[in-house]
């Protein structure tokens, strides 16, 4: 049994009933994304893209024991540096850390 102080009010079988189909769909969507990368018209290596590498690394957390898989994944995709960027590299975030707190 998990931490009863932070439990979901539903029993396990009801959680599965409620959320299995949509979770299955999300997993297949992720697989389809990786397949699509392999079919890119320029035949570029997906692992040459830092966001794809970061996503694959984070995906491994799915099969690790809990708790707080979401938090661990989010931290793996985050900029771990402490100091502000010296300059604005771009307006929008990438979605994964580029390896350079000063921007790509």
């Amino acid at each position: 049994m998990g931490n009863i102080d932070s439990c979901c009010p539903l029993p396990l079988h009801r959680i599965v009933d409620e959320y299995f189909a949509e979770s299955r769909n999300k997993l297949l969507e992720l697989a389809a994304f990786f397949d699509r990368l392999d079919r890119a018209c320029d035949a570029a290596d997906p692992d040459g893209e830092f966001r794809v590498v970061a996503l694959k690394r984070a995906a491994r957390v799915l099969l690790e024991p809990g708790p707080q898989r979401v938090k661990r994944m989010a931290l793996m995709l985050s900029d771990p540096t402490e100091e502000p960027r010296g300059y604005l590299d771009r307006k929008a975030a990438w979605g994964a850390y580029s390896g350079n707190g000063e921007g790509v």
Binding site: P9, S78, T81, E82, L88
Partner: protein, 284 residues
């Protein structure tokens, strides 16, 4: 169930959205100042924007029996422009006394740059000078964790700042603990593709309790859902949470936070007669 939408950029939305929000139980909302999707070229643009937030938008909302409140600032997306920030900040005080203004927001960081930090500090100083509450925007995606840490560090560098008067919004699983452990109020934003989903918001509340947390749609001109809060209510009911817990998150917690400002007065809504929009502008 009645609810309060604490974060909605209604100037980007249509009357249909106001109608849907009213039909689903929205009784009041607050609209933080926002980025237009492109950088404005003049402080005069902000002056018009602040008039829109304090004059025009409350009238639109009142047509649907929704009370409209607002927060004023230069949004973090434009915080890099220090000259513009100084000009805009100089224009904010005259709007702070307007009856629907709750405080300074949404301020914070975008890409966590040095100039954005300077603009953030200027806004916090302005809020303290005018005893205003603060609504904080935390950055997106990979910038959120570092940005939230930098924002908290900056807020804490001001000795006269009461964290209970600061709402740090767009929290996620990896930032909520640092926000609450430091005494700040916490917002969860329900987005279809980023921030948190309905299910993750319910998970977070189960894991961290409903104390000091509210949820919002942050609906704007991008992919967002103006009726995300009633959808969240359905998600919580799907999990058999009590009506009391749900009401605390969607109604009582926003009231507790906003009520620190004398301008916030829900009772006033039933006393007011909605003005017709045509009093202000011709509408076909």
């Amino acid at each position: 169930m009645d609810y309060i939408e604490p974060h909605a950029h209604m100037i980007s939305r249509t009357m249909d959205d106001y109608q849907q929000m009213a039909l689903t139980g929205c009784v009041a909302l607050s609209e933080p100042a926002f980025w237009a999707g492109w950088d404005r070229q003049s402080a005069d643009s902000f002056e018009d924007y602040f008039r829109q937030l304090t004059e025009f938008e409350p009238t639109r909302a009142a047509q649907f029996g929704i009370q409209h409140y607002t927060w004023l600032c230069l949004n973090p997306k434009e915080g890099e422009n220090r000259d513009m920030a100084r000009q805009v900040l100089a224009r904010i005080p005259k709007f702070l006394e307007r009856p629907n203004v709750l405080g300074i927001g949404e301020i914070g960081l975008n890409r966590n740059t040095l100039r954005e930090m300077e603009t953030l500090r200027d806004h916090i100083a302005l809020a303290i000078e005018h005893r205003s509450m603060i609504l904080i925007h935390t950055p997106h995606l990979e910038d959120k964790y570092k940005g939230t840490k930098l924002i908290i560090r900056t807020l804490q560098s001001f000795q006269n700042l009461d964290p209970k008067r600061v709402m740090i919004d767009h929290a996620e699983e990896h930032t909520i603990e640092m926000i609450r452990d430091n005494g700040f109020r916490c917002g969860l934003t329900l987005y279809p593709n980023t921030k948190v989903s309905l299910a993750r918001a319910a998970d977070i509340i189960e894991m961290h309790s409903a104390e000091g947390i509210y949820v919002n749609s942050a609906c704007d001109w991008g992919f967002s859902v103006p009726v995300a809060i009633p959808q969240f209510i359905m998600e919580m009911r799907r999990r058999k949470h009590s009506e009391a817990t749900i009401r605390k998150v969607v109604y009582e917690n926003p009231i507790a936070f906003f009520s620190q400002v004398p301008n916030f007065n829900l009772a006033r809504a039933s006393e007011s007669v909605p003005r017709n929009l045509k009093e202000l502008v011709y509408v076909d």
